[in-house]
Amino acid sequence: MPKKSYRMAINEAIRHEMRRDPNVIILGEDVAGGQGSSGGPGKVGSVFGVLAGLYDEFGAERVFDTPITESAIIGAANGAAMTGLRPIAEIMFVDFIGVCLDQVYNQAAKFRYMFGGKAKTPLVIRSTIGAGFRAGAQHSQTLHPLFTSIPGLKVVMPTNAYDAKGLMIEAIRDDDPVIFLESKLLYDTEAEVPDEAYRIPFGEANIVREGKDVTIVGFGLMLARAQQVAEALAKEGIDCEVIDPRTTSPLDEDTLLESVEKTGRLVVVDESPPRCSLAADIAAIVADKGFRSLKAPVKKVTCPHTPVPFAPSLEDEYMPNPRRITEAVRAVMAG
């Protein structure tokens, strides 16, 4: 099976759906890509190159650049979705969601409910997340806990190229608004990705490593770090189960609870400040529904409660890293 990057897997998913369904359109800042550059329109395809070539294939009618006005992007996308199109809107960095948050949480997320189920909002909002990119406090946040807390939104955090394609196709075919969060540091990672279209259902966690001693949950970029720690600790005889929830809303609680029932120990790795994080959320769910399985307190490995620092040495320490994950696993093993 061909190996493809996370970036190319998302591109392929969108290309496939645009060929399959003429109602799928793309809008956002610089999504056509390269206008005014020496390459010309279509040659870059959004700031990280995820949409490269789509303008060439589908033209300006279906891949169009907007002004630098996030409220216009999401407002237009909401209207398009309600009138039968299936827009894929891009917010270049998730940090910019603030200026269009009303359109997201008070409009898109509410249409189906407030129109008595008669309105559908088949909208995908793509955005990039995460620190480690040396981009400063306003271009490095994750914000998935914010979206996860809003009823009416589905929230997707792919951790690898194979999942990214299947989850994007599922997102485009879904009739509700989906927030699709792409980890910037994963764009160049590769996996075996089929050429054909396939769907990965939302709310279906992936047990990426089976183990019996400790359950480690990781989102987005953090999953790879959890896996790295699990492999290293296996050599010492600590057998970690590693779980990728894939989507934070809906959340596959059953798989998490079944795993903790087996291991009795839980570490949640979340690139997010600790308060109201997914780590806090999952710790609360397990304390509520799986308390009797627990052999040790749940450990959260998160960022500190600060903005993302710009100094590279501080930024590296800000993000959950293998050392801190290892310490958390050892702590729960000690009881």
Binding site: E196, A197, Y198, R199, I200, I207, E210
Partner: protein, 371 residues
Amino acid sequence: MSAITPIKMPKWGLSMIEGKIVEWHKKEGDALKEGDDLVDVETSKITNVAEAPTAGILRRIVAQPEDTLPVGALLAVVADASVGNADIDAFIADFQSRFVPETDEATISGIPTKTLQAAGRTIRYAAFGEDKHGVPVLLLHGYSADLNNWLFNAPVLSEARPVYAIDFPGHGGSDKDVADGSAVFLAAVVKDAMAALGLSRVHLVGHSMGGAVAVRFAADYPASVASLSLLAPAGLPGSIINLDFVTGIAEGRRAKDIKPWLEEIVADPNLITKDMVEAMVKYKRLDGVEEALLVYRDRFAAGADAKAIAADLPKIPAALVIASHNDKIVGAPDPARLPSGWRVVFMDKTGHMPHMEAAGDVNAALLAHMG
């Protein structure tokens, strides 16, 4: 030193690059006969037993359970009792100092596949031993399987003749439109695929649903069939069809739903690895697969193809059938109701996958039948 035989990590198929030791059936000092079950080895596809290649004493076990080792790595040493321990030590040291795992491209990327056009559809296929002469072999997989099912067989069968394996519509890398899913349609796909490959006459080998298609094909195109071999075939007199299994595979979406059904296909459920289940889940997620499998399911349930096959059996004077009374998917055919020239071999230690569960025996039987 000539009396010392190394036991190496076997290579079961093109895509195998390493294997994990599960369990030794013999301990150091045991006397071995050639063909004795020696050690269980787990690969990314299946767990299988490696047999003793020669008689002798199992002098030293080098690889321990849970060890994962590359193909060709030293697992154990067999020698007569007369060989001294120092010679055994020297042999092992010498072997280990020279051993380099193979890492060629073909091994790492798995079975190389191509596509052809048949019955208006894109069909994926794999070719082995294309430089060989002789009547080619054509392999037809079963329901919800694909050409990767033949990874223990194609390399052996292709030592003396070319071997081709196709993916039926709705399966593997072929188009997912399966028309009416009938045996007649699938036989037409086989006919077209043979034409596209330039094959006029083949040794036809079919497993399960592919077995029923092979019978249909042999009845309709006798001149195109040099020999007919059927492995756990569906649709023969006395066979059953486990529709719960067929539906469970068609409708299951999560690993935990699919795994129990996959465990039904083999005699020893421990053969079903996490990777096998994951591969099935990934296949099931592809656009069109669930719909395709449900078309086949409805076709099996209707039973018309099996009836037509039973009526046409007298047109096929000879065939080899390998079946098991412990097959939970199609059961076993009734030899008394098959044409007198047909030979039925029961391998009751296997379930529904004799070509994977007892690859060595099945390969030998196939080669003998092809002549």
